[in-house]
């Protein structure tokens, strides 16, 4: 550790966002980068804990103390090597990860956490700019073939590692661009798509075979996939959105968040969208239903499209500003978070249940809603009751449903292969990420349910490891049993 007393002498400083008035007019990334010297100071705050809770809380197990020490010492190469070892795509997580590490940072006990996410981003961006990130194709090919279906973070991570291990990997993607939710779910102002392309180029150079616009089960029979490859990894995400089945749902102007976000990302890319298909917030009263990250992405996008007003409704109570006893350090606390999108203008409402859409000429224009109350039942579960007389109406010319996803799409591949599902409708896997079909694995949201990018990456990594073991039938590395 470079500076044992750094945490005492240096305050936390975030790199910050571009000014609101500037950034709402474009789709460029909102977050800035910090000069190297300041970044080194921020890294010096890391205490190199005996038990680094950040590392424990990080799904991919980034070893923050080690690479932060390297940052402090100005050794970007070492920092990059260590970071890259646990995380295939720090440039993604460095931008979009909610950073459970920072919640668990020991400094956060009685001080401000180390700026771990931004430090991570600084490392990978520095590595790119120094030309450290170059293609390193495997020296030998194993002769085994693996198909990875779905090119979201899980599929990408899995395919990357298997390719590096020397297997021949074909990555199938049904849409026309690689990246899944990264490309079409996350707005450009949070993750510029050049970042994805930059990585994909390297993967291609390393010999990864990518086939976009191919839907397995439609363009290629599901059975062929199993027969043509030694192993298959299904990483198709959890794309079945949670719907709001209330009166007026069929009115026009009510969209799932992902439809909206995907379209905007296409527009930014330069795709031409027909007028009928175009979902526009310009000059409209926009209501976003759902208080999560996707919801806030909708808010940010609507602002950029020039919405007249934006209201975000959430059925759950307003989260606390500080940790409560029920979510002590180092657990991830459900806290109120003001995202960059919220700063750009939006009204947030909590304890609101949408009751009904009404419209005019098939177009939605009003949403009726009611306030609710929550209490804990005898079994510990939360019980919701409506507050009598609290119903109200909101103008709503564009409604975006961002209530999350329920499970992967079952039709097609999943059904074709006869994969077992768990109680929540996700693909059921064993400890080795294998489904009930021999040699068919699944990773990421499709088996764990919708979650963070970083979880998807970790799943992809673990699945790759399992597939690798499956392929070489390694028997030595058994894990201990209690």
């Amino acid at each position: 550790m470079g500076d044992p007393k750094g945490f005492l002498n240096i305050r936390r400083q975030e790199s910050g966002y571009r000014p609101v008035e500037e950034r709402v007019n474009d789709y460029g990334e909102v977050e800035k980068l910090m000069p190297d010297d300041s970044r080194r100071m921020q890294a010096a705050r890391c205490m190199d804990c005996g038990v680094p809770f950040c590392h424990w809380a990080c799904p991919v197990g980034n070893i923050m103390p080690e690479w932060q020490d390297a940052i402090f010492r100005g050794n970007w190469k070492a920092a990059y090597d260590i970071l890259q070892d646990t995380n295939n795509f720090p440039e993604f997580t460095g931008r979009v990860c909610p950073a459970p590490c920072e919640a668990a940072c020991v400094l956060a006990l009685n001080d401000d956490a180390v700026t771990i996410r931004q430090n991570e981003l600084a490392v990978i961006e520095k590595a790119f700019s120094l030309g450290l990130v170059v293609a390193k194709p495997p020296l030998m090919r194993s002769g085994k073939k693996v198909a990875v279906i779905g090119s979201g973070p899980a599929g990408l991570a899995c395919a990357d590692l298997l390719n590096k291990a020397g297997h021949t990997v074909v990555l199938y993607e049904s849409s026309d661009g690689v990246g899944g939710y990264l490309r079409y779910g996350i707005p450009d102002f949070k993750l510029s798509k050049e970042i994805i392309d930059r990585r994909i180029n390297i993967l291609l150079k390393e010999g990864l075979i990518i086939k976009t616009g191919v839907t397995i089960g439609r363009d290629i029979p599901s059975s062929d996939i199993r027969n043509d490859f030694n192993a298959v990894c299904i990483a198709i995400g959890a794309r079945e959105p949670r719907d709001l089945s209330i009166e007026g749902r069929s009115l026009a102007g009510i969209h799932f968040a992902l439809e909206y976000l995907t379209q905007q990302n296409r527009v930014v890319r330069g795709d031409v969208i027909t007028e009928q298909e175009l979902i526009r917030a310009y000059d409209k009263h926009v209501v976003v239903i759902g208080g999560g990250d996707t919801g806030s992405d909708c808010v940010g996008t609507a602002n950029r499209q020039g919405a007249r007003s934006i209201t975000q409704l959430e059925i759950m109570p307003k989260p606390p500003e500080h940790r409560t006893e029920s979510e002590p350090w180092p657990l991830w606390p459900r806290l109120i978070k003001i995202s960059s999108s919220h700063e750009e203008g939006c009204e947030q409402m909590w304890n609101i249940s949408a009751k009904r859409f009404t419209g005019d000429g098939g177009m939605v224009n009003t949403i009726s809603a009611i306030e609710v109350e929550w209490r804990t039942g005898n079994d510990g579960r939360q019980i919701m009751t409506e507050k009598p007389g609290s119903d109200f109406e909101l103008e709503a010319e564009l409604v975006l449903i961002a209530m999350g996803f329920v499970h992967p799409v079952h039709s097609g591949l999943v059904q074709d292969l006869g994969l077992d599902l768990d109680s929540r409708g996700n693909i059921k896997i064993d400890n080795n990420f294998m489904t009930n079909a021999d040699g068919i694995f699944s990773a990421g949201d499709s088996s764990r349910g919708a979650s963070l990018v970083v979880h998807a990456i970790q799943d992809g990594r673990l699945a790759a490891d399992a597939i690798n073991r499956y392929l070489i039938r390694d028997s030595l590395k058994q894990s201990p049993q209690c």
Binding site: L8, G50, A104, V106, L109
Partner: protein, 1514 residues
């Protein structure tokens, strides 16, 4: 018991036994024989009874005996046919009681006598009185007969003596190899024409009563050499009583295993003209299965009979230190050097007395830690003993008094009738042969050898990476181990103990090194301070072919000499390319072919051993085992396996001494690795891999401005320092004796592996074999050549890593525990407990291998209440200083609320905490610790304890001292520690008043006197053999014994110590419990354990393994907010627990309530488990290992472990108590202090306080005089004590040990006579005066008057001594003021405060480790500078008036109290003497004084300015 040690059972093993004792002799210098000498000898023995021990029956001693000249008149009286003196040999023969077997032995003996051409004259029955024996002794009593043997022809006495030796050796072997069932009873104490030994399993006062001969007035001798034994032995036996044939030994030989192996290895080259073909008959030299002292006697005897004189042989076996710090003649140094090339020292504390009938004498080892004092009378008597006062003579009869000095000989020639001075004896010996010339001509210095061309160090990057992967170098190895060593030339420091699984439980491939733990000294022998006492330590050694031990030729020293055993690539190349005669080398690959696995490693080892043997036969003197040739096809044989395997193979083949073994390996990198290689026989090691790694770091610029050569040098320095530390932990001084001594134990290695390659290494729970080692090596090989990760593994051995080694304290266990205790939520606690148990079963700790056997449950209400369980809980010893005041007081407050006990740690305690605060919080620590530093240990501190704990060792760094750096010592800490702010405090590795078990008994006695109401507890660290040590401790009357696990936490400790020294508590506790039960001592003591305890389940298992009480250290800290930063040693604890930084302390959030919750949860959980097991009272759990079963494990390595010995129920488990049922008898009810207290009552009265004056006689059995009196003063009047001179006592005679210990303010003791060791220990304000008795006419300033270790840990008070003191005067003094007229070695060592004046010569190593206080030395002959250790101090003339005034004033007092002639002279001629005074001032202390002075000046200046400003305003 039937006269033999019990079988190895459970964890008990007789091989662990130690002993130490009281020794002495009485002799008539002119050789006049009389019965009076015998009488006096026995009296000496009886007066040292307190140095011996008694067993559970309180009647059986550990052994005592007497060696004398043959009482010819006595025997002649009974056997008129006896030839004249010297013409026959005789000796007692111990025989089996069973007649048939006894007869067989007698027949065999007679037959051998006959075969050797001698004649049995006859047998004599020895009259004994068995009724005086204790039960245990009687059960093993042998039958006895005395044999008389004469030569057939009239041979000369020397030849007959030699023959008798052969007879004894031959018959011993015969009986040993016979099939007799009681053959162990057969023993010949002595068989000689000159001397006779009477001994047995006695207490000293039984010797005379048992052997009728000894009371017979016809029994006469000019010498009586006696010994009484205090053994930690559970089952002392008759044959191990002393004296042996030539000597009696008080001490312990730490390197005994190595010495025995080497001796056996040498036997093949024995040749002696005196013996000719008979030489084979005396083999094996060392009788198997005997004690270390017995083995030493065997070796000495062999050297003696093969032609060396007694002093010569002793100088070979226990050479004095001869490096440049020692003022001995050059020629003598060459003598030592010559012999050191072929005989390693028998290393360890030793006070020896020896006698061959003509010569009698004594010697001390180089450290001189065992006290040995003597008195010579004007009528030619000499009395030497472990104590002074063992014989009383009128003052005017005494010619002079002296003491044995480190490495010196006391030598009396009774034929010539004089005492031959040490220099003269040695001169005779070192001038026998031209040793200097021989060494100069034959011994070659490694540095003088040439090597041609460049020797590469670096490795190409890919190869380096491959090498790292192959040998499992991790990022931690580089960052946390190698880099700090390279940058600082020191071993890195860590904190908070180790919580990773044992190597055998780990899922990660482990280096073979990790399956071993270092052994360390505790109680029975002292560790050494390798830094402050470096004058006795050395790494210098030799490598080459050894010659016939029994001869002395120039060729013997044809060796290569090197000062450090870590060879650079260049060094090893020198050896490899050397072609001079006698220095031929061969390099053999230490690899095995991968493709032939499994079984490949085993075959490769066999082949390697065979080829080494071949090469020796071809004449190679150096074998280099190298793993340079590893590649894709060949994996490295673990270097330790190869080294130890070859070493033991060669010992078995009797070829070991013919070669030097050099290991060239990339595997070794940390200190432990090297220590192991040397411990298993390596002569030198070349860590080329570590060097290449360092080269790589330098090249990449990852080190701060260090060039390679400097980096390499630093690394080697760090290794050397670390090695010295490892050696010193076991009290070993030289690498030569450490080599092959195997001072390690294995954990997790199977028997077969141990027998084949690590012969005689202790391994308690079995474990893996060579097959598993092969797999581990291949896994690593596969990583290096197949999977080839880009980065080295991060590992997570020191810091938690998700994919790394498992840690017991991990994020989950930490936050669950904190969550549960903060919210008081028992369900959350259960979750914590579940996480912990699951992890323990992984397996992680040994306790995880056990399950409870199902029992019939009882309702919870029937189980005893929580409160009773809470009383059994304590917190770990954590000093105020290592943790913050807030944390320290929080713990105390919590434990006092719960009726548990908190532990002060070693740092004193603010007296303000001894009374409850107005708000009811009580922050007094119930347990007061007494550690080697004795910081703040005053009479008052001790008086305010419920329990006093003697810390012998600490789990995280057993065998080591500690250091609290100056920057951590603020005003408050300095106050409680009685030291100076900013001045570093050093805790020495040993307690300077515990060098042996009898010393511990003494300290226990002292402390019991210092607080008769407190329990005395002794803290030991788990290691093999701790059970037998605990037996000694129980016999020494400890009330409580704590067995600490090695996992325990620490504020700061070297990394290698944290991980590699000591054992888990499970093993130590179980062994201790079993051994105490077998010995029927368990009922006398309470057992406590600690080390990573966390849950109710943990304490229930610990109870079943034998513990009654439980300590929690780390868990306590975690409850208070610790998150295992492991930064305690950096003072940056971010939660305010282990820091003194005021800013960080503000972050402390711990509350007593959190701890209260935690301990209540534990008790609650324990009750639930007890209910499930049907146990009502906790007491009924203790020792119930039968309730545990061993769980089947399917972990590939852990399944080879068998911990069933831990739950073994000893044979006597039914008959003997299995938990504490009685209190110890401390024998403090009728001591001198009881009278003193009575007589002092006027002064002690709370009202009157009338001064009193008392006169009393005193003798050496009156020990700790004044200590209990001081307790009475402290309990009444606290820290301030009484007004000066309130109690004045004058004593006449020889005072026992610890005279005036912890003497409180207001008491003055005047001693007219002399005193033993520990005079003024812990002086707490009192005044001590020692003067020679009235009537004596020897010159006081030339005679010794008080013993060793005077004023140890004194905090205040005065001492005036007219005469010379022994070694370690004023050691660790922190406040007393003293005058003495001369002192031995190590004077003023570790002093931190106070002032002393020495008006005469001092010994070596003055002021070592002295960080505070001032010493003034009168340097009459200008030699003082040589004797001073200037490491931490500066010397100057006395210039300041302040100093002069101080000296004059104190000397005036000295004259007033002692009438000292020297002091008078100095005062009269002050100006002549002034220039001869040297002032010794520690640099740090000087700085602190200056800072204080500057602060005062600044304060004054500020006031002046303020006044000026005020003036200006008006």
């Amino acid at each position: 018991m039937q006269g033999k040690l019990p079988q190895r059972q459970g964890l008990y093993d007789s091989a662990f036994e130690h002993d130490s004792c009281g020794i002495g002799f009485v002799a008539h210098i002119k050789g006049t024989r009389s019965h009076d000498i015998i009488r006096r000898g026995i009296e000496v023995l009886e007066r040292m009874e307190h140095r011996g021990a008694e067993s559970a029956d309180n009647k059986t001693g550990d052994g005592a005996g007497i060696l004398m000249q043959i009482p010819h008149e006595l025997y002649r009286n009974e056997l008129p046919t006896l030839p004249g003196p010297g013409l026959y040999g005789t000796g007692m023969v111990f025989l089996p009681r069973e007649t048939g077997e006894a007869e067989y032995c007698i027949r065999e003996l007679e037959r051998v006598v006959d075969e050797e051409g001698l004649r049995t004259i006859g047998w004599r029955d020895i009259e004994v009185d068995s009724s005086v024996l204790g039960k245990i002794s009687r059960a093993s009593e042998p039958a006895m007969k005395q044999i008389f043997i004469a030569g057939k022809n009239t041979e000369d006495q020397a030849a007959l003596e030699r023959k008798l030796y052969i007879v004894r050796k031959v018959v011993e072997k015969k009986i040993r190899d016979s099939s007799l069932s009681r053959k162990r009873l057969f023993y010949i104490p002595s068989l000689s024409t000159k001397t006779m030994v009477y001994k047995g399993m006695f207490m000293p006062n039984q010797v005379r009563r048992y052997y009728r001969d000894l009371s017979d007035p016809l029994t006469s001798s000019a010498v009586a050499l006696v010994h009484s034994r205090f053994s930690t032995n559970t089952f002392p036996s008759w044959d191990l009583a002393q004296p042996f044939r030539l000597l009696a030994h008080n001490g312990e030989i730490n390197t005994i295993k190595g010495n025995r192996f080497w001796m056996s290895a040498r036997e093949s080259s024995f040749a002696s003209p005196d013996f000719g073909s008979d030489i084979g008959k005396i083999l094996p030299v060392i009788e198997p299965g005997k004690s270390d002292s017995a083995s030493f006697d065997n070796a000495l005897e062999m050297l003696y009979f093969t032609g060396r004189s007694l002093p010569h042989a002793l100088m070979m076996l226990i050479p004095e230190s001869w490096n440049e710090k020692n003022p001995i003649p050059e020629e003598l140094k060459y003598f030592y050097e010559y012999h050191s090339t072929f005989m390693e020292p028998w290393d360890g504390p030793a006070s020896m007395v020896f006698c061959d009938g003509r010569f009698v004498g004594g010697t001390l080892d180089r450290n001189g830690l065992r006290p040995s004092r003597y008195v010579v009378t004007k009528d030619d008597l000499i009395v030497m003993g472990s104590e002074v006062g063992v014989q009383t003579f009128p003052a005017e009869r005494i010619a002079y008094k002296g003491r044995l000095m480190p490495g010196k000989l006391l030598f009396v020639d009774m034929e010539k009738g004089r005492i031959i001075p040490d220099e003269e004896v040695k001169r005779q010996i070192y001038t026998q042969k031209p040793y200097r010339l021989w060494v100069q001509l034959n011994t070659v210095n490694l540095e003088d050898l040439e090597v041609k061309g460049e020797v590469p160090v670096s490795m190409e990057e890919n190869r380096l990476h491959e090498m790292h992967l192959l040998y499992g170098y991790t990022r931690e190895d580089i960052k946390d181990i190698i880099t700090p060593m390279v940058e600082t030339a020191q071993e890195p420091t860590g904190s908070m103990g180790t919580d990773t699984p044992l190597a055998v439980f780990s899922d990660k491939p482990q280096r073979l090194f990790n399956y071993f733990k270092q052994c360390f000294a505790q109680v029975t022998n002292p560790a050494i301070d390798p830094i402050r006492e470096e004058l006795v330590m050395t790494l210098t050694s030799y490598i080459g072919e050894q010659q016939n031990l029994l001869e002395e030729t120039p060729r013997h020293c044809r060796m290569i000499k090197f000062k450090n055993p870590i060879f650079t690539n260049r060094d090893i190349e020198k050896i490899r390319s050397s072609d001079s005669p006698g220095f031929k080398s061969i390099t053999l690959p230490m690899t095995f072919p991968v493709r032939n696995a499994p079984g490949s490693l085993k075959r490769a080892m066999d082949a390697l051993c065979a080829s080494v043997e071949d090469k020796i036969n071809e004449g190679c003197s150096f074998i280099i085992l190298s793993d340079q040739n590893t590649d894709r096809e060949n994996a490295p044989i673990p270097s330790l396996l190869a080294c130890a395997g070859v070493h033991h193979h060669l010992i078995r083949a009797k070829k070991r001494t013919r070669v030097g073994l050099i290991i060239e390996t990339a595997e070794a990198r940390e200190i432990m690795h090297f220590a192991l290689l040397f411990g298993y026989g390596a002569g030198a090691v070349n860590p080329y891999g570590a060097f290449a790694t360092i080269h790589g770091l330098v090249n990449k610029g990852e080190l701060q401005d260090i060039r390679y050569l400097k980096a390499e040098d630093n690394y080697i320095k760090a290794l050397n320092k670390g090695l010295l530390k490892v050696l010193s932990k076991m009290g070993t001084s030289t690498l030569r004796s450490y080599r092959g001594a195997q001072i390690f134990e294995a954990i997790g290695l199977g028997n077969e592996l141990i027998n084949d390659y690590f012969t005689e290494t202790v391994s308690r729970i079995g474990g893996i074999g060579i097959a598993e080692i092969e797999i581990e090596t291949l896994l690593q090989h596969d990583t290096a050549y197949n999977s080839k990760p880009k980065l080295k593994d991060s590992q997570g051995m020191y810091q938690y890593r998700k994919e790394g080694e498992r840690h017991a304290w991990n994020p989950e266990s930490i936050y669950f525990l904190q969550w549960a205790t903060r919210t008081g939520d028992y369900d959350k606690y259960k979750e914590f407990s579940r996480v912990v148990s699951k992890q323990n079963c992984s397996p992680h700790f040994i306790r995880g291998l056990f399950d409870f056997k199902p029992q019939t449950p009882i309702p919870l209400e029937e189980v005893e209440n929580e409160k009773k369980i809470l009383k059994r809980l304590t917190t770990g010893a954590m000093s105020f200083g290592s943790i913050s005041r807030e944390a320290h007081e929080t713990i105390a407050a919590a434990m006092n609320t719960l009726s548990g006990r908190s532990n002060s740690g070693e740092g004193g305690e603010d007296p303000e905490r001894f009374v409850p605060r107005p708000d009811g919080t009580f922050t007094r620590s119930a347990i007061k610790q007494v550690a080697s530093g004795r910081f703040g240990v005053t009479s008052n501190y001790l008086a305010n304890a419920d329990e006093i704990q003697i810390k012998i060792a600490q789990g995280a760094k057993p065998g080591e001292g500690g250091q609290l750096p100056g920057y951590k010592i603020d005003k408050n800490i300095a106050k409680t520690r009685h030291s100076t702010p900013g001045v570093t405090l050093i805790s020495p590795p040993p307690h300077h008043d515990i060098y042996s078990i009898e010393d511990l008994a003494q300290l226990i006695f002292d402390l019991k006197n210092a607080n008769p109401k407190a329990r005395i507890s002794v803290k030991l660290v788990s290691e093999s053999g701790v059970g037998t040590i605990a037996v000694g401790v129980a016999k020494a009357h400890a009330d409580n014994i704590l067995i600490s696990g090695f996992e325990g936490g620490t504020g700061a400790s070297p990394m290698s110590s944290i991980r590699h020294a000591g054992l888990p508590w499970e093993i130590g506790l179980a062994e201790t419990h079993q051994t105490l039960v077998m010995n029927d001592l368990r009922g006398r003591v309470r057992l406590q354990t600690d080390g990573q305890l966390k849950t109710g389940r943990d304490i229930v298992i610990a109870a079943m393994l034998g513990a009654e009480e439980f300590g929690f250290g780390t868990a306590t800290l975690i409850v208070m907010g610790c998150v295992m930063m492991r930064k305690c040693h950096q003072n940056t604890c971010p939660v305010g627990v282990a820091t003194q930084d005021p800013e960080l302390r503000k972050r402390f959030t711990g509350k007593p309530e959190h701890l209260i919750n935690y301990f209540q949860f534990i008790a609650r959980e324990a009750r639930e488990i007890m209910a499930g097991l049907g146990i009502r009272n906790f007491e009924d759990l203790v020792g119930r290992s039968d309730l545990l079963s061993v769980r089947a494990i399917d972990h590939w390595k852990a399944k080879t472990v068998d911990p069933s010995a831990l739950i073994h129920v000893p044979d006597d488990g039914e008959a003997h108590a299995t938990h504490c049922v009685q209190t110890q008898i401390h024998k403090i009810n009728d001591i001198l202090d009881v009278t003193l207290i009575q007589k002092s009552s006027p002064a002690l009265s709370m009202y009157g306080r009338m001064p009193v004056s008392i006169d009393m006689p005193i003798n050496n059995t009156d020990r700790a005089t004044g200590t209990m009196l001081s307790y009475e003063v402290s309990t009444r009047f606290g820290e301030d004590g009484l007004p000066d001179d309130s109690i004045q006592c004058t004593f006449k005679g020889s005072a026992g040990q610890s005279f005036g210990a912890f003497l409180a303010q207001g008491i003055t003791f005047r001693l007219e006579g002399d005193a033993n060791d520990y005079f003024g220990k812990g002086l707490s304000g009192g005044r001590l005066i020692a003067v020679p008795p009235e009537g004596s006419d020897f010159i006081p300033e030339e005679n010794i008057i008080i013993g060793n270790t005077v004023l140890y840990g004194a905090t205040s008070g005065e001492a005036f001594i007219r005469g010379i003191a022994g070694e370690r005067f004023a050691v660790r003094n922190s406040g007393a003021v003293a005058v003495v007229e001369g002192a031995g070695d190590h004077c003023a060592e570790y002093m931190t405060g106070g002032r002393i004046i020495v008006l005469g010569r001092v010994g070596r190593n003055f002021a070592a480790g002295m960080s505070g206080g001032i010493a003034y030395v009168l340097d009459n002959d200008g030699t003082f500078e040589y004797f001073c250790n200037k490491g931490m101090v500066e010397l100057s003339a006395v210039r300041e008036f302040e100093d002069q005034d101080f000296i004059i004033e104190l000397l005036q007092k000295h004259v007033k109290h002692t009438s000292s002639a020297v002091a008078k002279d100095v005062l009269m001629n002050w100006h002549d003497y002034l220039p001869k005074f040297m002032k010794v001032l520690p640099l740090e202390y000087k700085r602190a004084l200056d800072e204080m002075r500057i602060a005062q000046i600044e304060a004054k200046l500020a006031r002046v300015r303020e006044e000026e400003q005020l003036g200006a305003t008006y």
